[in-house]
């Protein structure tokens, strides 16, 4: 007849991408006459912001500001093939393809500039602000805009590039399962604090502190969006979500949002995130996929915290109040049996 607190920990890793058919994504990059750059993809943005982060990746590689990069995607007529946005593969695969394409485009851009400045392209630097200048002589420069105009109307060159990400498909050995499912893994450690009401079985998740290792946080605010949103979904999974509350029986299957329970806006835990980075050698600027992992560690962290709080294990999801109460009653009656 009390509210009891406890805390629990979970530590996990998560693979980027898929071991299926090469996990391919292609990208094309080209310059407009005035030195803006179009990235063509067919990757779908689900709200994770792939269009935005890909623009940053392209801009960094080209050596121009992000606002000069436009991403055109999700059209099968204009974008080269992408396997799709899932498996935390989007940023990693599309990012790598875009880097390759942008490198090719950058090489042409520098050759055009080299022609204009009458130097070798190896003696040129982009300043990241829209200009290209001779190394050590910042006054001798041309704008990216002028370079693009020259390419189109004077030199007849296409400032463009192609890129493709592909890994050879790995076939698991039938006897011992030897396989290569992924080339890079992100990591997480979550510590959850909960309060369990022993009278109702309800669980309030008070706080979550999560440390995520993501390779490289390409855009920290966007990384935070994913990690906070995913943490919420993990807690929601742990305590509330199911379409079949009496699984494996299909009775009372949830038909709509009246019946499908989720963590509500009034029940949010204090969610804190810290990020560390161990760049993946094959990630775009070292980035690893993180869109899925963030929902995983909170679930067992909450389950372990419940045990710490009230001494019962609920080893089935969702950990509903009913299951907690049954476990508490069982614990009480077995204790009584020993005492009595």
């Amino acid at each position: 007849m009390a509210k009891q607190r406890g805390r629990g920990v979970a530590a996990v890793n998560y693979p980027t991408g898929m071991n299926l058919g090469g996990d391919p994504t292609q990208a094309l990059v080209h310059s407009t006459p005035t030195g803006n750059f179009i990235v063509s993809l067919s990757s779908v943005d689900l709200g994770q912001g792939i269009k935005s982060v890909v623009a940053q990746i392209c801009a960094e590689t080209l050596g121009v500001p992000t606002e000069r990069v436009i991403v055109d995607t999700a059209d099968s007529d204009t974008g080269p093939h992408c396997m799709g946005t899932f498996a935390s593969r989007g940023t990693h695969r599309a990012g790598n393809a875009v880097i390759a394409a942008a490198k090719e485009a950058r090489a042409v851009m520098l050759e055009v500039a080299a022609d204009m400045l009458e130097v070798d392209s190896r003696d040129l630097r982009t300043d990241g602000a829209g200009n290209i200048h001779i190394v050590g002589v910042p006054s001798k420069s041309v704008s990216v805009t002028d370079v693009a105009l020259a390419a189109h109307f004077q030199q007849g060159r296409s400032i463009s590039g192609r890129g493709m990400f592909f890994i050879p498909r790995s076939y698991p050995s039938p006897t011992d399962g030897a396989m290569k499912p992924s080339t890079c893994y992100a990591h997480a450690c979550t510590i959850a604090e909960v309060e369990v009401d022993t009278e109702t079985g309800e669980v309030a998740v008070l706080s979550l502190k999560s440390v995520y290792e993501v390779g490289r946080a390409l855009n920290p605010k966007m990384v935070e969006q994913q990690l906070v949103g995913g943490t919420w979904m993990g807690v929601s999974h742990a305590l509330y979500e199911t379409t079949e509350p009496y699984y494996p029986a299909r009775d009372h299957a949830c038909r709509d949002f009246n019946e499908y329970l989720m963590l509500g806006i009034g029940d949010l835990p204090k969610t804190e995130i810290r990020v560390i980075e161990r760049p993946a050698p094959d990630g775009p600027f070292g980035a690893k996929g993180l869109g899925e992992m963030c929902a995983n560690a909170p679930i067992p962290a909450v389950a372990n915290a419940i045990f710490d709080a009230v001494g019962v294990r609920v080893d089935s999801l969702p950990i509903s109040p009913e299951k907690i109460l049954r476990a508490l009653l069982a614990k009480e009656s077995s204790a009584a049996g020993i005492i009595g």
Binding site: A10, V12, P15, L20, G21, S42, V44, L46, G47, S52, Q56, E60, P65, A74, D75, D77, C82, G84, F86, G128, P172, T175, D176, G177, A178, M179, P181, C184, H187, C189, K209, V211, L218, N219, P220, M222, E224, A238, E241, T243, E244, R250, I273, R274, V275, I276, E277, R278, A280, P281, F285, G286, E292, M293, A295, I299, P300, A301, D315, L317
Partner: protein, 455 residues
């Protein structure tokens, strides 16, 4: 959100201008103005509406489908059944040679789950489509159904999926995707403690705020354009091309932003039938899931049942781990054969264990086919693994965090699927969490590193 730069500092090179900056997203201005185009934010004159007639039974033979009343219903342009679908069996992964094909676009001899599509009604208003769909008469002969993964594998269980011939996906390794390292029985013999536990989950929905759907439009040059919320443009296009027996160049797929995906919009279930409806009527057709369909018809995360048996030494080392994982694929495969394999690659978790035996089964039951969802093959495994770690720690009276340090994987360690660990960082995440959350651990753990094995 803080980025702790002290870890792996010598591995982090690069002086970037754009990378590492929190540049404003390109789409948020459109979101706050409400002008981001989602697939349903398009209007086409003469738009028709598709509603699906679905099985009311978990498992039944189809004796007769009578669409005459529906065909005569005012406003109805076309009623589509299995015979109208050029290639009526589709498997989402057949593009990359993962078979056998095992799911009809529209059922013809049998229904294997409650809600399985049987006939598509295409009408000039949503109301006509609904009313006409209700007037389609299907005569069924109900069959016994099986809902429990282990029951489905018992001899004598109702056969759910004739395309496979048994209630599990047959891998080249047999009834399960197998991973074997060392000798678990020998490991159990050496252990001081044995812990055998079972973990369960139930299906979980993606429940995006935007439901699954698409609009197929006959377009210029004898092509069809499909505006869709799919997460995989070409995947869906190529599957549609096979199902419709239409060359790929006639199909044009346009996505936009998907209003939430989470893996729930990769099954290519709405586009082929909607395109077919557009082809047969010559009109634009919309097929948009209502919330019930999104909840019960669209695939969910597979329920899983996981058995873990561990052998533990008294100084806290896991010397052997046996995992048996049953993935409830529902009535058809979709992506689950891959998901169960992904789980096999994920077990036994980010820990170095010398003797490991993993069997992951992809099992068919009479329920909504499950499919990819955020954390596919991993989320439920992590629930089981990390609760198990907590139990093991307490078994030997160790702090749960310290216990994980002892077993955590490091660079160079052999994983169960015979890859060497690279780029590990579990230890560092736990070190940071320990300090930050004030969960103290012995100083020797704070001196550990993922980059080398000591202690």
């Amino acid at each position: 959100m803080e980025i702790s730069k002290s870890y792996f500092a010598d591995e982090r090179h690069g002086d970037f201008k754009e990378i590492g900056q929190s540049r404003q997203r390109s789409d948020t201005a459109g979101h706050v103005r409400g002008i981001t185009p989602f697939y349903a934010d398009r209007r086409f004159p003469g738009l028709l509406h598709l509603r699906m007639v679905r099985s009311p039974h978990h498992h039944a033979r189809i004796l007769r489908i009578d669409t005459t009343a529906a065909e005569r219903h005012p406003g109805v342009k076309r009623v589509i059944t299995a015979k109208d679908v050029p290639h009526n069996v589709y498997t989402v992964l057949s593009l990359i040679n993962i078979g056998p094909e095992d799911e009809p676009v529209l059922a013809f001899d049998k229904v294997r789950w409650l809600g399985e599509p049987v006939a598509a009604v295409v009408a000039d208003s949503e109301r006509s489509a609904h009313e006409a769909a209700a007037s389609v008469r299907v005569d069924y002969e109900e069959l016994p159904a099986v809902f429990d993964v282990e029951d489905a594998l018992k001899p004598g269980a109702p056969l759910v999926n004739e395309y496979h011939g048994q209630n599990y996906y047959r891998y080249d390794s047999g009834a399960s995707r197998k991973v074997r390292l060392g000798d678990v029985e020998a490991g159990f013999q050496k252990a001081d403690h044995i812990l055998e536990e079972r973990y369960d989950s139930s299906p979980i929905e993606h429940a995006p705020t935007e439901t699954t759907g698409c609009i197929a439009v006959p377009d210029q040059n004898n092509r069809l354009t499909c505006y869709t919320g799919t997460q995989a443009i070409f995947f869906t296009l190529d599957n549609a091309s096979i199902i419709l027996d239409v060359p790929g160049q006639r199909l044009h797929f346009v996505g936009g932003t998907a209003g939430g995906g989470f893996g729930g919009k990769v099954d290519c279930t709405v586009e082929p039938i909607t395109l077919l409806a557009a082809m047969l009527t010559g009109r634009p057709v919309a097929f948009i899931y209502n919330r019930y369909e999104e909840m019960q018809i669209s695939s969910a995360r597979a329920a899983e049942r996981i058995y873990i048996k561990d052998g533990l030494t008294k100084d806290g080392r896991i010397v052997a781990r046996r995992v048996r994982c049953y993935v409830d694929s529902g009535a058809y495969s979709r992506h689950s054969p891959y998901g169960a394999q992904k789980a096999a690659a994920h077990f036994p978790g980010p820990y170095t264990i010398p003797n490991v035996e993993i069997d992951c089964y992809c099992v068919y039951t009479n329920r909504t086919p499950s499919s990819a969802m955020r954390g596919f093959g991993v989320t439920i495994a992590d629930f089981a693994l990390e609760v198990q770690m907590d139990k093991l720690a307490r078994l030997v009276a160790m702090d749960p965090l310290e216990f994980r340090f002892i077993n955590a994987y490091r660079d160079g360690d052999m994983k169960a699927h015979r890859q060497l660990t690279e780029g590990a960082a579990l230890i560092e995440c736990m070190q940071e969490a320990s300090a930050w959350a004030n969960w103290p651990v012995d100083s020797r753990y704070l001196k550990m590193s993922s980059r080398e094995r000591k202690g």
